[in-house]
């Protein structure tokens, strides 16, 4: 299967196989004008199988969200057909308005206009807790 190379844009590589669509939705790629390709189950020496997203166009990517969904992702910034920058993601210290607190006793369940902020409390086990009620994200 052939997909044109990106001239100026972003290649999100090393996405865990099956998570590509989740990332596509999180980044709201269905609403951008630029050409976008989502490749699923591509062969990978490192992962066995992986997903890749190619975006031919200059868009802002929320790396915090990407790092939270899959810290193994690599983001390649392409300029004039060549690799200008390669970023390896990691779990962000905080994520804002990405996940919602499910604790019905949390103030976020009733207070209007409040940001849902989760803080990384255990990097090894990927545990995030709500900054308001300290409930675990799930």
């Amino acid at each position: 299967m052939n997909v044109d190379s990106v001239r100026n844009g972003i290649v999100i590589d090393h996405i865990q196989a099956g998570k590509g669509m989740e990332i596509y939705k999180f980044l709201s790629l269905d609403s951008i004008e630029s050409p976008v390709a989502l490749l699923k189950n591509v062969q990978s020496r490192k992962l066995g199988k992986k997903d890749i997203i190619k975006i031919d166009g200059d868009i802002d990517i929320d790396l915090e969200v990407l790092g939270y969904i899959d810290p193994g992702i690599t983001v390649n910034i392409i300029k004039d057909g060549t690799l200008a920058e390669k970023r390896h993601l990691e779990l962000p210290e905080t994520v804002t308005d990405v996940i919602r607190c499910k604790n019905p006793r949390c103030i976020t369940s009733v207070e209007q206009g409040i940001k849902h902020i989760f803080k990384l409390t255990d990097r090894e086990n990927r545990i995030y807790r709500c900054i308001y009620c300290e409930s675990k994200a799930n």
Partner: protein
């Protein structure tokens, strides 16, 4: 401007300093009679409380200040749907400091982000209650003479008991603390507290289901209530209930220097026969709550003698 939302907002030095101030207030209350003159405390209690609200109000009045507020959400604009943020912005126009109790966890943190005056968390649901922890620490130091090198037993509901979690967190900063966790299997201390607090700080701890068996080890016994609603079935509750009620016979093997604490309110978990035992210090603990709140109000208002 400082707020007190969680006990972890204070350094160990700040906690020790608050306790020092509280002890000074106890020894010479007249010196503090006017330190908050012309200052106003607002007590915003979105759910009812006897001890905590009256303790805050009494604390401010004893410092020569004034008190305004409400004692239930129905008598506030919250009943009309006003947000916590808007409520504290409004009250900040009338008061110099706010003590707030709210049934939703994290509400005081939201308040602190919006407020122009210091916020004290006076309890947010089952989450934090830092002034109770300060009260407990002052009580331990007054009863036991120090905040290090002792064995404390926590008995009852260790799973949902916020006062227990908070006090364990605070004590983990002091040296030589040994903890005995006494509870039924159903109400054991959550594993994340064991991992994040006890193991991380190398605190020695053991778990027991038998209060009588561990009694001789204890320097301090912190009782909490085993609540019926925490059990999935009535039979389990009835089976376990009496094991965690403190009666004179269970104190047979206890040290003569033991301090028996309880955050109150008590229902039946400490027999009233214990009240006259000099080792029972839960009513002295209540009194200490006012003095530590006086010290805290002074600190957050940045006033002194």
């Amino acid at each position: 401007m400082r707020h007190l939302i969680s006990i972890t907002d204070l350094t160990t030095e700040e906690i020790d300093s608050l306790i020092d101030t509280a002890e000074d207030i106890i020894s010479r209350p007249e010196a503090y009679r006017e330190v908050c003159k012309y200052k106003t405390l607002a007590t915003l209690f979105f759910e009812p409380s006897t001890r905590t609200r009256l303790s805050f109000e009494s604390a401010m009045l004893s410092l020569g200040g004034n008190v305004i507020g409400f004692s239930e959400a129905q008598s506030s604009s919250a009943a009309k749907g006003e947000s916590v943020a808007d409520t504290v912005r409004t009250v900040g126009c009338y008061a110099d400091i706010i003590a707030m109790r709210h049934p939703k966890e994290g509400a005081p943190m939201v308040a602190s982000a919006a407020s122009t005056v210091p916020i004290i968390n006076a309890g947010d649901g089952g989450h934090n209650h830092p002034t109770q922890t300060l009260t407990d620490l002052l009580t331990i130091r007054r009863e036991f003479g120090r905040l290090d090198d002792f064995t404390i037993g926590f008995c009852g509901d260790l799973k949902f008991g916020r006062t227990v979690h908070s006090l364990i967190t605070a004590l983990s900063r002091y040296k030589g603390i040994k903890i005995v966790l006494i509870s039924p299997e159903e109400l054991k201390l959550p594993s994340y507290i064991k991992k994040d607090i006890l193991q991380k700080n190398n605190i020695e701890y053991v778990h027991s289901t038998d209060l009588t068996a561990v009694m001789p080890m204890l320097d301090i016994l912190y009782m909490t209530r085993v609540q019926r609603e925490r059990f999935f079935n009535e039979d389990d509750y009835l089976r376990l209930r009496d094991s965690y009620i403190l009666t004179p016979d269970k104190l047979a093997g206890a040290k003569s220097t033991l301090s028996i604490m309880h955050p109150l309110p008590r229902v039946n978990e400490i027999s009233t026969e214990i009240d006259s035992d000099p080792r029972a210090c839960y009513f002295r603990q209540v009194a200490n709550g006012k003095f530590i709140r006086m010290a805290l109000i002074m600190k957050l208002l940045e006033v002194g003698i």
